[in-house]
């Protein structure tokens, strides 16, 4: 806060000296001696010259063109002093000039404040608030809208899902988006001539087309090959489809989170009891519409349990329905997946649309699969389309909303 010095206040009423000087010589030049009689002459002559308003020639003071121009306008310093008197401040540049000329000073004491607008530390310290009233505010007046920083609505849901799984005792798996066919398909006992490996179901990498099976997992390759061709050691017939090791190295974009389960089962120290999950971004060649996206999220997981059985899978699915979909109404149907047997589809009742929805696909990993990967115990597995679950829960009809490009929607979405 600023206020006028006594000198400033004097000039505010009388006018600045240089201003009075040019007013005086407005119509005719003046003798120096004559002008010097006025009280503030040194100041007047100094600032008039500095402003380029006057010239002195032969003992006479003449008004210049800029002097004439200045006379046609209100003096900016005068205006600024008036503003300071009124508001306690003015524009930064002029404030500096006024300070330099000692026409204003900082208002240190608030003794003169008659009404408090902004409560300041000075007011509190000095105690002036005791004798002053506060300016009245209108609490109903509109305030500007501000937006907090917050989680993306769908990410927030995925965070919740992660918390639920961790609370149940699951450890999280992560892995690469660009995947080898070995982990995404072969190790999962999907035969190499299966239609689900075609260009309509999987995104393949253009260049390079092939990677390499990491040495640490290469010992699994012959076992996987045997499982496909003749069932390996399991007594199964296998697919009886020739297995190409080259094809195992084909690079693709993972088409399900199950590739992570395959990777995990090949880990050195993995054994029962073990429970693992992943929230995996996965890819499929789908054209974008209200129900399809080229990439989506899957809640994938496995449980290694020496007593693992079909009823325990149903128990897991019921628990997921309760914790993630928020419903107790679940029913189970036979299903088919190339890597599980028995397989099951968990149907969840949606009260809004009054329909059973296929939400929870699961099963026991096939013995050909687990034996090739060295698993000694049954492995229960599931891969849930978590995107759809969120849509159902939040009543969202267009799946693209999950990756919303609308800041308005994200900002205004309630935190639930």
């Amino acid at each position: 806060m600023w206020r006028l010095t006594p000198e400033g206040r004097k000039y505010l009423t009388e006018g600045l000296p240089e201003r009075r000087l040019i007013e005086a010589i407005k119509n005719r030049p003046q003798e120096m001696g004559e002008a010097a009689k006025s009280m503030d002459f040194p100041i007047a002559i100094q600032w008039s010259k500095k402003n380029g308003w006057i010239t002195v020639s032969g003992g006479k003071i003449f008004l210049t063109d800029s002097g004439h121009a200045a006379l046609r306008e209100r003096d900016p310093l005068q205006v600024a002093m008036a503003e300071t008197e009124r508001n306690g401040s003015t524009s930064r540049e002029i404030l500096n000039i006024l300070l330099e000329r000692k026409l204003i000073e900082e208002q240190k004491k608030t003794t003169e404040v008659s009404e408090i607008t902004q409560l300041t530390p000075e007011i509190i310290k000095s105690g002036t608030w005791k004798n002053t009233s506060f300016r009245q505010y209108d609490p109903t007046a509109p305030a500007p809208v501000i937006h907090p920083g917050k989680k993306q609505a769908y990410r927030a849901f995925l965070d919740e899902v992660r918390e639920e799984l961790v609370a149940l005792g699951f450890e999280e798996m992560t892995g690469p988006l660009v995947e080898l066919a070995f982990y995404n398909l072969d190790a999962l006992f999907v035969p190499q001539d299966h239609t689900a490996r075609g260009m309509h179901d999987i995104y393949y990498v253009k260049d390079p087309k092939y990677g390499g099976i990491p040495r640490m997992n290469s010992s699994f390759l012959p076992k996987v090959k045997a499982a496909h061709e003749n069932g390996g050691s399991t007594g199964s017939t296998g697919w009886r489809v020739p297995f190409s090791e080259r094809e195992s190295a084909r690079l693709l974009l993972r088409s399900h989170g199950t590739s992570l389960s395959a990777r995990w089962m090949m880990k050195q120290n993995i054994r029962a009891p073990g429970a693992y999950f992943a929230i995996a971004r996965t890819f499929r060649p789908d054209r974008m519409d209200t129900t399809h996206m080229p990439e989506f999220n899957q809640l994938e997981g496995i449980v290694l349990d020496k007593d693992g059985n079909f009823r325990k899978i149903l128990g897991l699915l019921s628990e997921f329905a309760k914790r993630i979909a928020g419903t107790d109404k679940v029913k189970f149907r036979p299903a088919y997946f190339p890597f599980t047997e028995p397989s099951v589809q968990g149907m969840v009742w949606h009260p809004g649309i009054k329909k059973w929805l296929e939400m929870l696909p699961a099963g026991m990993f096939r013995p050909e699969l687990t034996a090739a990967l060295g698993m000694k115990t049954p492995v229960m597995a599931w891969g849930i389309g978590i995107d759809r679950l969120f849509m159902v829960r939040e009543n969202i009809s267009d799946i693209r909303q999950l990756f919303s490009q609308d800041i308005g929607w994200l900002r205004n979405r309630e935190v639930t």
């Binding site: 937006h147 920083g149 917050k150 989680k151 992660r162 961790v166 149940l168 005792g169 999280e172 798996m173 992560t174 690469p176 988006l177 660009v178 995947e179 080898l180 001539d193 689900a196 260009m199 995104y203 990498v205 087309k209 990677g211 069932g231 007594g235 199964s236 690079l251 974009l253 009891p273 060649p285 054209r287 080229p294 990439e295 449980v303 059985n309 079909f310 009823r311 128990g315 019921s318 029913k331 189970f332 036979p334 299903a335 088919y336 190339p338 047997e341 028995p342 397989s343 099951v344 329909k355 059973w356 026991m364 096939r366 013995p367 919303s404 490009q405 609308d406 800041i407 308005g408 994200l410």
Partner: protein, 565 residues
């Protein structure tokens, strides 16, 4: 999964029981054969077949047979009565290298209706497409057997001889013409293109029946409502598939009341250890199961007798021997690879709804992945800086990643079979996605502060995947008074809170204004950059508001988290 359209009345007649018209109730019934009613319009039922490994269910006849067992109307191993016959097909030796296998059967005395014919065509199409792998492993042909002069020959011919009138056309065409002009020729010609001589199926008078696996003759290779005797022929490159498709098609027609006559195939080479085969063969598949193993897998306490009764509904015959159950499954059940497959049949006919779920009681300790925990910490800090989190695709395009960002050409992970050019490469940095987002939100209030923490994929010639998935964080701020210092303060506040020591040095980056860009280094390694976006780049995105932005590689920042399997 295969979808077939059937008549509800026909299905009910075949099963011998009325079915519910309510779709939910209907599905509760059909689930026993893994069928799912998608819609009912009048008498038309669209039925989706869940099991990709059970082509025997992809005909209304096969599906009805399965349902009869499940409902207890006709249980046990079905027996297909075969009459004596002297039908023969002679095979040319040259086929060994092109399309070696053929199997055939004649079904006589059927009363075909338009509905049945349509159904057969549909089934043939689904089986050839999926189970037959686009007609490579197997493809099926149906003929009016009364018009043929036996024995038939499965031989080879030049693409320029053996002209015949193909289905859907009126003039004679050579096989070479058919490949060029006939729609089926254009679709399946690639299966023949690499061979000098092509398969040709003829009768003893030299009349052409078909050009397998492309198309049949319009004269002989067509069945109509007037046809009573049908020849089913299957050719292909995989004997188990070929012989199984024949079984499936034969059983379907036998279900319609036809009498089955086998066909002798005379091979000049050995097929399954023999040169003379009589097809179809309905020798049941034998599987040995152990009662205790099944109970352990299912969590049940069923006796061998109970299992036998349940399997009878799956058309299996069982003989109990203590803990061992000898199972005979129908010959067409090629999906039975292991006893686990039989276990599922037991579970299905026991009824999934009868299984009491066992709630999980995991003895394990849960934990989020270190990488995710680290990402969450960064996300919290960014939210603390009043930023709105956004979620973008990892799939994008070079226009967004490079051109709009004024970046020079760069090797990216590109998709071989994109559905849309919009989503054809994997992003290698996050910032373009944030600019795209901001550009789409010009009508909303400023300031706009956004961030994303997500995966990018960068090329890596050494890695097994020839690439690395890298977790990054990026943020961007836009309003009319943004400046470099504001961004620097924000970046530094994050780094300080993450407990790292950093330095920022001048960097020249194509997307940022020269001298208003800094490289962020931690322990001498570059982990990111920050700066003010070039007006040229803003113009590329159609933006008029200045933007400051930063991107940090969290993987390098926290190398202890790079613990991919």
């Amino acid at each position: 999964m295969p979808t077939i359209e059937v008549s509800m009345n026909d299905l009910e007649n075949l099963i011998g029981r009325k079915l519910p018209r309510d779709i939910e109730e209907l599905n509760d019934v059909l689930q026993a054969a893994k069928g799912e009613a998608e819609r009912i319009e009048g008498d038309r039922l669209t039925l989706s077949m869940e099991d990709k490994n059970r082509p025997d269910l992809w005909s209304v006849e096969g599906f009805a047979l399965e349902m009869r067992g499940a409902l207890g109307i006709g249980k046990g191993l079905p027996s297909v009565q075969m009459k004596k016959s002297n039908f023969t097909v002679k095979v040319d030796i040259g086929l060994r290298e092109t399309r070696p296998y053929i199997a055939a059967a004649v079904v006589k005395g059927i009363k075909l209706t338009d509905e049945i014919i349509r159904g057969m065509m549909q089934t043939q199409d689904k089986i050839d497409g999926t189970y037959g792998r686009g007609r490579r492993k197997s493809s099926t042909g149906l003929y009016d057997s009364s018009m043929l002069a036996w024995p038939l020959s499965y031989g080879l011919g030049s693409p320029h001889e053996n002209a015949f009138v193909p289905l859907g056309f009126e003039e004679k065409m050579t096989p070479a013409d058919i490949i060029r002009k006939h729609p089926k020729g254009q679709e399946y010609g690639s299966l023949l293109a690499s061979f000098q001589k092509w398969p040709i199926f003829k009768d003893s008078e030299g009349k052409v029946l078909s050009l397998p696996p492309v198309t049949n003759s319009a004269d002989l290779g067509k069945i109509t409502e007037a046809t009573t005797d049908v020849l089913i022929e299957v050719t292909g490159t995989d004997w188990p598939t070929v012989s199984n498709v024949l079984r499936i098609m034969t059983v379907a027609l036998a279900e319609r009341g036809g009498q089955v006559f086998p066909v002798t195939i005379e091979y000049p080479y050995s097929v399954g250890g023999s040169r003379k085969l009589i097809t179809p063969d309905f020798e049941p598949r034998k599987v040995k199961i152990k009662v205790d193993e099944i109970n352990r897998l299912l969590g049940t306490e069923l006796s061998g007798t109970q299992m036998g009764a349940l399997l009878s509904k799956a058309h299996c015959k069982t003989r109990s021997k203590g803990n061992v159950l000898n199972v005979l499954a129908p010959a067409w059940r090629t999906d039975v690879m292991h006893w686990a497959d039989i276990a599922e049949d037991i579970a299905i006919h026991h009824g999934y709804q009868k299984f009491e779920p066992i709630p999980p009681a995991l003895p394990t300790v849960g934990a989020a992945a270190p990488k995710e925990r680290y990402s969450d910490r960064v996300r919290e800090l960014l939210i603390g800086l009043k930023m709105q989190e956004v979620l973008n695709f990892t799939l994008t395009n070079t226009n967004d990643l490079l051109k709009k960002m004024s970046m020079p050409a760069e090797k990216l992970i590109e998709i071989e079979n994109p559905v849309s050019s919009e989503y054809s490469v994997l992003r290698n940095w996050l910032l373009p996605g944030l600019l795209r987002f901001l550009a789409a939100n010009r009508i909303h209030d400023y300031p706009q502060k956004v961030f994303e923490v997500g995966d990018c994929v960068v090329t890596d010639t050494i890695a097994a995947e020839r690439s690395r998935t890298v977790r990054k964080a990026a943020f961007a701020v836009t309003h009319d008074k943004v400046n470099f210092t504001e961004m620097k303060s924000e970046v530094e506040s994050i780094l300080r809170n993450l407990g790292v020591e950093w330095s920022i040095s001048p960097q020249s980056h194509p997307s940022f204004i020269e001298s208003r860009c800094g490289e962020i280094k931690v322990k001498g390694r570059a982990i990111g950059f920050l700066g003010e976006i070039k007006p040229e780049v803003l113009a590329n995105w159609g933006m008029e508001m200045p933007v400051i932005a930063a991107e940090i590689d969290l993987e390098t920042l926290a190398p202890q988290n790079a613990e991919q399997a």
